[in-house]
Amino acid sequence: MSYKAKFKVWRGEGGEGKLEDFTVEVNEGEVVLDIIHRLQATQAPDLAVRWNCKAGKCGSCSMEINGKPRLGCMTRMSTFSEDETITVTPMRTFPVIKDLVTDVSYNYQKAREVQSFTPPSSVRPGEYRMKQVDVERSQEFRKCIECFMCNNVCHVIRDHEENKTNFSGPRFLMRIAELDMHPYDVADRQDAAQEEHGLGYCNITKCCTEVCPEHIKITDNALIPMKERVVDRRYDPLVWLGNKIFRRGDNGK
C-alpha cells in the first residue's frame, strides 16, 4: 500500500531558512528517514541529513518531527494519518549547518568538561572488584546512544541560549551521576555538579526522560538522585553534623 504524503521540511544554511513543501510517496513499513532519503533521491538532491545506522543505535538522525524530538529512523510513517502534513525540522537548540544537520559541538564541549573516571590511586587497573548490584544503576545510563535529544528538548537551554555556558544538560548531568554512583570513583562530583555543571537549573520537569529513545529514566534515576546527593553535601545540616561526628566520608559508602 503506498500513498502520497505531504511534508514540510526545513531548508536553509545557518539559522536562515524556511519550511519547503513536498508531496512524496510513502510505502508500507517505511520510517520518516526513508522519506527524507526519497526526497534526496527524487526532488531535493542537496537536502542535508545526518544518519548512519538506520537502526536507532548510532544517535545520528535526531530531528524534530511535528515539533517533537525523534529519531528519524525510528519514527514509523504508520503513526501518522495519510492526510496529515508532516513537518520535519532540525533540532532547535543547536546551530544549523544545513537543512536538518545541526552543529552539536556544545555536547562534545560539555562532555570534555566532565572529569573522567577517577579511581583511588591505590587500585591498579585489573584490580577492580565489583558486584553486579553495585554497577547495575550505572548500566542503565550506559545505554545512551548520544543522540542529544535530551539536551535539545531541555527548556533550560532550548529556551535560554544564555544558560549554555553554565549548564551541561541532562546527558552530562547523567554522566556525572553515573560516575558519582560508581564504587571506585573518588572524584568530588557533587559540588562540581551543582557549581560547574548547573544541576540546580534543572527543575525536574522530565522532558529529557520523555524524549529519550533508549527509555532511560534520566530524571528519576540520575538527576533526582544526584540532586539528593547534592543536598547531602551542601544543604542538609544533619548529614553535615553526622559527617563531622562520625567522620563518615565517601569511603564508608
Partner: protein, 262 residues
Amino acid sequence: MTQTTPDAPVRRQRAQVKVRTLRTDRWWLTPFLTFLGLSSFLVYGVWAIIDNSIFVDPYIAPFASPCLAEVTCPEGARLFGWAPIGDWYTLSPGLLILALPGGFRLTCYYYRKSYYRSFWLSPPACAVQEPHGKYTGERRFPLIMQNVHRYFFYAAILIGLILAWDAVLALVHKPLGLGTWILIVNAILINAYTLSCHSCRHITAGRLNHFSRHPLRYRAWTFVSKLNAKHQPLAWASMFSVMGADLYVRLVAKGIIAFPYA
C-alpha cells in the same frame, strides 16, 4: 550558495523557526487538567481549614489529624487524649499541622514538576517554548528551598502513622462502617505515597555506592524503587483519597450523610 565554515557567524545560529512549537497534538491538555486538579485541591483545602465539623465518633477528618488543640478538638478526636496546645488557641486544629503535609507535597519532586509545568508554564509541555525571558531554575532563593524536602518527608512518616492509627481506631470501634473502610484505603494510599518519595529512596540506600555491603538497605531500596516508579499515580490517588475521606467524615459529622453503616 554561501559556504559555512565552522567559524562563519551564520553557523552559530539555530533554525529561526518563528513559532512557539510545531507540535500538532493536544500538548496543552495535560497541563490544563493538572491545573484543574491541583486547584481543586487548594480550594478544598481552604474550605477544610474553615470548616469545623472535623469529628464524628470514631472518625476524624484526615485534614484535622492529629488534632492537638484543647479548645477546638472534641475529646475523642485527640491523639491518645493528648492536646498540647492550650486554651489560648481557638482557631481550626487543621491549621496547626497544615504546614507539614502541605510542605511535603509542595516540595515533592513530582508536584514540583506538575506545578512548574501547569502553573508556571516552565515549560508548559516538552518542546513548547516557555513564556519567560529569563530562567534560573532551582539555584537561588526561593526555589533553592525545595532542598528541604527530606525534612518534610520525616514529618510525613509521622503523619502517615497517625492516619493509619486513626483508621485502626475506626476499625476497632465501627468495623462495618463505610467511613472506616474509606479511612483505611486513604491511610494505605497516603503511606504508599510517602514511602515512594524520592528522598525516601535516597535515604534507604540511594546515597550508597556499594549496595553489596549493605544487603538489607539494598533490599529496602529495591522495594522503595518499585513504589517510586509509581510516584506520580500515587500522588494523585492519595490526593483524591485524602480529599474524599476528609469530605466524607465532615458530611457524616454534619448529618448530611446518615445511614446505619455510614
